[in-house]
Point group: C2
Chain length 347, copies 2
Amino acid sequence: MWADNQQREPRTDQPDGPRRRATIHDVARLAGVSRQTVSRAVNDKGEIDPATKERVLEAARLLDYRPSRFARGLVRKGAVTAGLVIPDLMNPFFPEVAAGVLEAAEQRGWQVVVWDSRTDDTREREALDVLSHQADAVVGYFRNEDDILARHLGGVPLVLLERGPQQTRFAAVGIDAAAGLEQGIAHLVRAGHRRIGMLDGDRRDVPGPRREAFLAEIRRHGLSVDESWVVMCPEHSVAGGEAGMARLLDSRPEVTAVFGFNDLIAIGAMRAARRAGRRVPDDLAVMGFDGLSLGELVEPALTTLHLDKRQLGRLAVEQVARLRAGEGPLNGADAWVRPELVVRGSA
Amino acid sequence: MWADNQQREPRTDQPDGPRRRATIHDVARLAGVSRQTVSRAVNDKGEIDPATKERVLEAARLLDYRPSRFARGLVRKGAVTAGLVIPDLMNPFFPEVAAGVLEAAEQRGWQVVVWDSRTDDTREREALDVLSHQADAVVGYFRNEDDILARHLGGVPLVLLERGPQQTRFAAVGIDAAAGLEQGIAHLVRAGHRRIGMLDGDRRDVPGPRREAFLAEIRRHGLSVDESWVVMCPEHSVAGGEAGMARLLDSRPEVTAVFGFNDLIAIGAMRAARRAGRRVPDDLAVMGFDGLSLGELVEPALTTLHLDKRQLGRLAVEQVARLRAGEGPLNGADAWVRPELVVRGSA
DNA sequence: TTGTACGCGTTATCAT
DNA sequence: ATGATAACGCGTACAA
């Protein structure tokens, strides 16, 4: 039976290009000990002579030896890596969600590899193609349909952000848009508004929960509304909101209040309205959704449906944990974050 | 010579707790083929009968089989993971840097695992303790000294953000604060200001590049300045800036212009000044540093020394690449990002 | 088309 | 205190 020591003398005469990384075996040879001893020294276990330990460490230093995380992971179980897919790091909303994910992951001793999909379906799939190989679970925002996601997931557990159980077969953490809009529209109606528009961020043909909740509340209050009161903002940014508001003022100049898909869009609406000569909130009330701290800095400060974004991220990690434990995901109210109306100057 | 097939029948009768994950071997057994065939099916190489392939994939599905990323990484080289350590995800500056890192990393096919150190020295070290085992290189913001970093790095390459070569023995990507402040102070002086204060973010005892550049420029213009004109904002946030400005107005009520360590602090300064009854920019000019898009939304819009934050991130990744290639890091102007004065309403 | 026999770099177990 | 040997799970020449 060959000792594998003897079998191992490959490409030692290679013109070391990017220089093959030293292995435990190289260190062992240089220090004149066995691999096992090197392992003991490096991971400073006991049961090793201080002298040899020092000799080994010196050799390791010399060779710039670092244990392979792959070999190590193979034999020591327990290193968990989660993938996080975010649509747009420039939108302050998502870093805050990410902070929640990182926080919860760290507490469990997990690592998080982050991808920015830039709200691009193709990039979402690419992210999954990679993460399905390199992560033990994925959480994030996705526009692709369930089937497509599943195809690129290769069996890796997925937790969707801002999706209700009705809208996906994957585990999810949602936002209770209905509960939010109920407070929001009630506030506007209470203030006397009857002609309320919306700057939506979803696609015209696939109304999201926010638009549906908006329309439902408007109708519940007996106000008239049709598609002409909802304009699309594909951009999800201040600029997108400005453009959208300009169009809304064009098609529905009689509007007295607008609800923005998110705070960025709402802030854009404020700016566009002002530029069009309307004062906020006197001539036009503006309400946002998200509760970015940014909203407190603009003038007037933004009234908004505030969301606990960190909690969203934390919940997502909890869902992942349940999936991994085979417990079945959280459902119902436990997997939802409820917005809370924060009234400031703009409405 | 034993076929290792036969040697492998361990703990098959375990009361599978968190259920041992299926291996390629399990799939092979269930499908009645060799592991090699499973491998071919899963990685869809050619040279496999479509029928058996389907049978294998079915078995894999049944067992919820996913190849171990460790075993795979062991045999296929090339999967690079970089660690990114950020002080505060809530400060819009850092997500933008992160975006640059992610972008550049993705182009190279690398992954990035992110840590939020919350500007905490202890957490920085903890991050390194983990990342030194799980990442092939680390880039980020660190307050710990070189020696400490090295100790927790275990030989993993490190690229420091916002440090000049003079200030560290590690590879670094810096910001040319001097070039920025030269423009900034010149602008203020040109506007007639002679009593200029600073809201600094660094520690009183260890002046950072921004403060040093600030003092140098002030002196270069022959203006008088001493420590009483510089107040500390440990917070690096709007609130921190508000508090700092209040203190500055207290100790130096004659101030006519302030330079903020970053845009957040500068915005806080504007708010505090206004609250104290001073108009911006008429009674007090305010200049920021960073060029956050947030600065365009406040009123008046913030004059600032704008930085290409994505570029900062991209450069950091490039430094990592050079380190890995053994090329020695970029130095001098190539590893620096230069601020650019953007004049808006506040100064 | 399918299977055999290693090797990847590390740690754990059991001797010595 | 140190070393030999066997896993860990997967990919891959090479043989069949």
